[in-house]
């Protein structure tokens, strides 16, 4: 059985805690779980892969927010007044990194995380209420905007970069 699918209610609740905690602590604003959909339109999204080494299976963790909130996030996180697209991408990437780390700790015993990859896209689709691919979605409202955390068990990970494996060369004592 996959650690990334057939999640029980307790785990889903914990995913809700993760998304609310991450946004609440980074933005210093209240965040509450919601069943509302993420609006269609321009979104900032970031994804990273989790490799469960016990079961040798992969999933991606994805965080999406509307561009309006992404701009507010970047301004607050970077303490700048007029964040550009690159600032928004950096900010959502870090949010996904924090969320991904917490998801990995929640679901896996022995796993590794890829580096996050972020972009701004124009999304015209709502997430399916009961996805056939086993994906899990949790959403929260922050500053009046819906944010979404998704776990995709079968999503491709080939385009994601991984931190280097530990190499003996780095462990050599300096003469």
């Amino acid at each position: 059985m996959s650690v990334f699918t057939e999640l029980d209610d307790d785990v889903r609740e914990e995913l809700g805690v993760i998304i609310t905690d991450v946004f609440a602590s980074v933005l210093r604003e209240e965040a509450i779980v919601t069943v509302n959909q993420l609006p269609v339109g321009p979104v900032a999204l970031a994804r990273l892969a989790v490799h469960d080494m016990d079961g040798d299976e992969y999933a991606t963790v994805e965080v999406r927010v509307g561009v309006g909130l992404a701009r507010v996030m970047a301004a607050r996180m970077m303490s700048i007044s007029s964040p550009g697209p690159e600032d928004m991408v950096d900010s959502i990437a870090e949010i996904s990194n924090i969320a991904g780390g917490n998801v990995k700790t929640l679901l896996c015993h022995h796993a590794r995380l890829s580096l996050p990859k972020a972009q701004i896209i124009d999304d015209e689709r709502f997430a399916e209420a009961e996805p056939a691919d086993g994906s899990t979605y949790v959403r929260a409202i922050v500053l009046g905007h819906v944010v979404q955390l998704a776990l995709h068990p079968h999503a491709p990970v080939a385009d994601l970069l991984w931190p280097p494996e530990t190499s003996d060369a780095t462990l050599e004592p300096t003469p």
Binding site: D21, D90, G101, T170
Partner: protein, 121 residues
């Protein structure tokens, strides 16, 4: 006092530095590095009094950075600031000689409680 903040995310470096300030540690000189390899170079050149480092980074990870630092003879206090807080990682960090592992998201209180013994306000 010099504090080296190592994280591949510029956003997170800013957040860590801001949180240090909120925790009352704002008067110290802050150095920044984008990955473990750069962190190691700066640590060897600048001899910081404390190192805060992410774990997952390109070029050289945080745990490689710490192991290389200890292998070079440095005993500089080293604290991970990472999004992952599994027991396995805590054990690895402890075995490699880390002071502590702060899990993101964090608060200024977390920094005060964890670093108060090695950083003066």
């Amino acid at each position: 006092m010099k504090i080296l903040v190592t994280d591949d995310s510029a956003v997170m470096r800013k957040i860590v530095i801001r949180t240090m300030r909120q925790a009352g540690f704002g008067k110290h000189e802050i150095l920044e590095a984008e990955n473990g390899r750069q962190g190691l170079e700066i640590a060897q050149a600048e001899s910081p009094d404390l190192i805060l480092s992410d774990w997952n980074m390109p070029e050289m990870t945080g745990i490689e950075f710490l192991r290389a630092l200890r292998a070079s003879g440095s005993t500089t206090p080293f604290c991970f600031v990472t999004s992952e807080g599994s027991d396995e990682m805590k054990e690895q960090a402890d075995a490699a000689g880390a002071l502590a592992l702060i899990v993101k998201p964090f608060t200024a209180d977390t920094f005060s409680d964890t670093l108060g013994t090695v950083v003066s306000a």
